[in-house]
Symmetry: C2
Subunit: 135 residues, 2 copies
């Protein structure tokens, strides 16, 4: 009789993305570039960032989770967007920032938690203080 349906592995895998905003955002960015630069088609961008067009399509449609940090970085460079912003939309934090925290965990944990609710202008003032070599 044999099985009516092959179904070799799992019957289906929708694989929805955890961060739906990411895909829509980069598609928006790419389409915008495409208006003035026809080489920003999905296929050509995919080729330049070294992924398959089918995969980039899935990513832009939010059908799969955002790519790895390395791929997000290549995409950011390609689209002229800040890598930290794209990584954030991907639900990630740059590994070099994580390492800053890991080296002095209690110190930076306290700093970040105390600044969590601080208004942006206040944090900016701190950044500027530090930048002006106040140590």
């Amino acid at each position: 009789m044999a099985a009516s349906r092959p179904t070799r592995t799992a019957p289906r895998r929708p694989r929805r993305a955890s961060q739906p905003r990411f895909g829509a955002y980069i598609r928006e960015l790419r389409e915008r570039l495409r208006k003035t630069d026809p080489s920003s088609s999905l296929r050509q961008v995919a080729q330049r960032i070294h992924v398959q067009p089918a995969y980039l399509s899935q990513v832009e449609r939010g059908n799969v989770a955002p790519p790895s940090e390395a791929t997000v970085r290549r995409l950011a460079k390609e689209l002229g967007e800040d890598a930290d912003v794209l990584l954030a939309l991907a639900g990630k934090v740059s590994d070099d920032l994580q390492e800053v925290i890991r080296r002095r965990p209690t110190l930076f944990a306290e700093l970040l938690r105390s600044l969590k609710a601080a208004p942006t202008h206040a944090v900016l003032r701190v950044v500027r203080e530090v930048r002006d070599g106040k140590w």
Copy 2:
């Protein structure tokens, strides 16, 4: 006769840990507790943090990678250690800290990178300033 070794799947899987320090550190902590509290045996601690003793043994010996954030947190509480410190040793950063960064990525990326090389006392002064409600 027959096969001298079954070897059903892969021949062997050493599965070395990426963070060798983590295991040695928590074993040290646990052994220290054990001197005054006999209920800090590997098996009993394993039971209290809801993992199998065999697994905790592997972790302490650095034979497998450090556990998930949730398990590291239970371990930290059990051993009376700072969770952020243990997470750092595990090569991780607490998800709540990551979220602080993800909410304002460029802002906190700049802050952290500018403080990356700053001496601890300088960072502490910043923490104190913030804590004293200077905003």
